[in-house]
């Protein structure tokens, strides 16, 4: 159960580490379903660059592509982002517990040596 989520989180974070790609995602979020040309009009990059970023987003499962006539329409998939956020919350809680244990362990000894 956790293994695929971790791998997916890996690819979601990898895909979103690029600031231009995040702008593509934001445009998709605003636009609902759009084409690569439609996205290129909203962004200061070429249609080719948009296509490249869409490919990376599809690899991370963040975007689906549907062929409609001669066009390909792109749409966001929210689930991988939700899973990534879930991973962050789970790992954050784990580290909060461990750091509290670290603090106690260090302060116990520090007090003893004084």
């Amino acid at each position: 159960m956790r293994a695929p989520v971790h791998r997916q989180v890996d690819s979601v974070f990898g895909a979103l580490a690029d600031p231009t790609r995040r702008r593509v995602v934001e445009s998709l979020a605003r636009g609902g379903t759009v084409t690569a040309s439609g996205l290129a009009e909203q962004l200061p990059i070429t249609r080719q660059a948009v296509a490249k970023h869409l490919l990376a987003l599809r690899a991370a499962d963040l975007v689906t592509a549907t062929r409609v006539g001669r066009e390909t329409q792109y749409k966001l998939r929210p689930q991988p982002l939700e899973d990534a956020v879930g991973w962050i919350q789970m790992v954050s809680a784990e580290w909060d517990d461990r750091l509290e244990g670290l603090r106690r362990s260090v302060e116990k000894r520090s007090g003893r040596s004084r």
Binding site: H6, L16, A17, D18, R22, E26, Q89, R109
Partner: protein, 147 residues
């Protein structure tokens, strides 16, 4: 003595794309360092069974009941920085880094954990700190679309 640092509040969860947490400890960086890099000390707080060769390239094994993680030490900078990778068998790998900062009366210990692929994809993007808020914003805009 109460050691508090109100000027540097922890980031809210939804603003951290990778995980970054911190704690303030009433002890010197050297004392914290020992607890981070000594096997026996790690067993006091990290997991019941820890094996660690605390040199760069050394192995780390962390066992807690059924759960096992294995990895390799990446950075050893005494009393300042300690980093390693770890993963459960069959899972993706994470990069874990501790940073210790001396404060009047204590130390600040910060830990960062991030999946290694995303670390490889853009340490500069992460260092720029720009995509934490960006992820939260993306998440909000996606909720607007799909809610």
């Amino acid at each position: 003595m109460k050691l508090r640092d109100e000027a540097a509040p922890q980031q809210a969860d939804e603003k951290a794309p990778w995980v970054e947490r911190e704690t303030l400890v009433e002890a010197s960086p050297d004392e914290v360092w020992e607890a981070l890099t000594d096997e026996d000390r790690l067993e006091e707080w990290l997991a019941p069974d820890v094996e660690l060769d605390p040199v760069e390239g050394g192995e780390i094994a962390v066992r807690d009941g059924e759960e096992e993680r294995f990895g390799r030490v990446e950075t050893v900078e005494e009393a300042e920085r300690f980093a390693f990778t770890w993963s459960r068998p069959g899972e993706g790998e994470s990069f874990v880094e501790f940073t210790i900062e001396g404060l009047p009366g204590g130390s600040r210990v910060t830990v960062v954990e991030t999946p290694t692929h995303s670390a490889a994809a853009g340490p500069s993007a992460i260092a720029a700190g720009s995509w934490g808020p960006a992820l939260a914003r993306l998440r909000r805009s996606m909720f607007l679309v799909f809610a």
